[in-house]
Amino acid sequence: MNAPVDMDHARIAATTPLDRLDPSNPAIFRDDAWQPYFARLRAEAPVHHCPESMFGPYWSITTYKDIMQCELAHKVLSSDSLHGGISIRDRDKALRLPMFIAMDPPQHDDQRKVVQPIVAPDNLAKMEGIIRARAIEILEGLPRNETFNWVDRVSIELTVSMLATLFDFPQEQRRRLSHWSDCATALPMPGGLIETEDQREAALAEMLGVFTGLWNERVNAAPRPDLISMLAHGAATRNMTPREFMGNLVLLIVGGNDTTRNSISGGVLFLNENPAEYAKLRANPALVETMVPEIIRYQTPLAHMRRTATADFEVGGRTIRAGEKVVMWYISGNRDPAAIEEPDRFLIDRKRPRQHLSFGFGIHRCVGNRLAEMQLKILWEEILQRFPTIEVVGKPQRVYSAFVHGITDLPVRIPG
């Protein structure tokens, strides 16, 4: 199922009757063929209803402006896991994972406020040195004149080591974090990372066991500035059920590594696809500042966020009925020419590069956005100090998912 099969995406996107067009098919993202589907929807049916898909019926919101309207409508567009949460795929009620991204106010606000000081300006400033030291160590350890997978050696390595620091999790076990992250988001399928929901539950139970040990250690000690201690001592989180603790761990682990991981990989790919931009960057390394948000826009590491209407809701001239599923396609809004000039071009010196949807907007806007940008910025500063070029030497392999827009393999070579 995960093995690429030849699909003529350009033809399918152009000729499928609108009412049967289904941009949620994960194969579209695995094959990096999503552009024509969303270009057509933005032009012909910007708010679009798909009556049948592997995820059931759903609405697609595809333009920047309509997505912004939905982002601000949290009173009628619920994120609550009771309604299905924040991704297009509904989970069995018994397997539902409460986490603050999948809650509405006031509970969302209360829990989010417990963890957000971890990325407050003073804390970020403290992390800068740690990230730089790790980035240097990782880059210095890379082979020369040899093909290796950038995702594994750099993107995962840097982001999980940062995540281990945020949790004060044993560094030597940091790869367990990316493993649990991948298990949490994988689509169950034969031959996949997980084949059944039971396997996912087993991986998450193992994660919960390890973190419960850390929690027990920290709940009886004085509060410390790590995420587990903050959750154990926070008024809104200290009495969480084990399931809620599990949910919030998934949120922090996935949010804290997978997204930045895929932007780190995407950046290397985009510069290779756009040699003139790579030349511009080498000539003026200060462009890292505006390149970083451009990478995050261009990659859009989470293709969408989902909401569920709790009352009838008007957007783009259509009426969404109470109970219906709404998918805000960030990956489409980030390529909307009505909002972003020449949106399909990767340009590292855009005037307002931070005007993009990748972090979401409104009350659920990404908590770690500035930390993500900082990791990318420091990594690129250090890359430019060392390597005149990083060559992509093979086809990237992509994640089979309509939610995590990611790269699993990026073969590269650094000339020595």
């Binding site: 601000l72 989010r112 406020k113 990325v119 300006p121 931070r354 009350i363």
Partner: protein
């Protein structure tokens, strides 16, 4: 034209003239004043144009609306005198307004 002064976290001041009807956020962006990010472009959806309004101006700038208050609730360094600059509309009554920027926008 009414004037507004932006004070960076390091104390550096930037005084500009700002047409009535424009937001204090727009004034900062159009004049390339550092310290205001305005990621959402003025939709009250990101809290990256966070400013502090001195006590003496609070009555004239008014208080945050519901959406603004929600967003400020997630701004790392919010204080009782915090506002989002995109929600303060310039007017003759605000001539001479001073706003202070936080350490960083988040």
């Amino acid at each position: 034209m009414p004037r507004v002064t932006y004070v960076e976290y390091n104390g550096r001041e930037h005084g500009i003239e700002l047409e009535a009807g424009l937001s204090v956020m727009q004034g900062a962006i159009e004049n390339n004043i550092p310290g205001i990010d305005a990621d959402c472009g003025g939709e009250c959806a990101c809290a990256t144009c966070h400013v502090f309004v001195p006590e003496e101006w609070l009555a004239k700038t008014g208080t945050p609306g519901e959406q603004e208050a929600s967003m400020l609730g997630f701004a790392a360094t919010a204080q009782p005198n915090s506002r989002l600059a995109c929600q303060i509309t310039m007017s003759e009554a605000l001539d001479g307004l001073v706003v202070h920027m936080p350490e960083a926008q988040h």
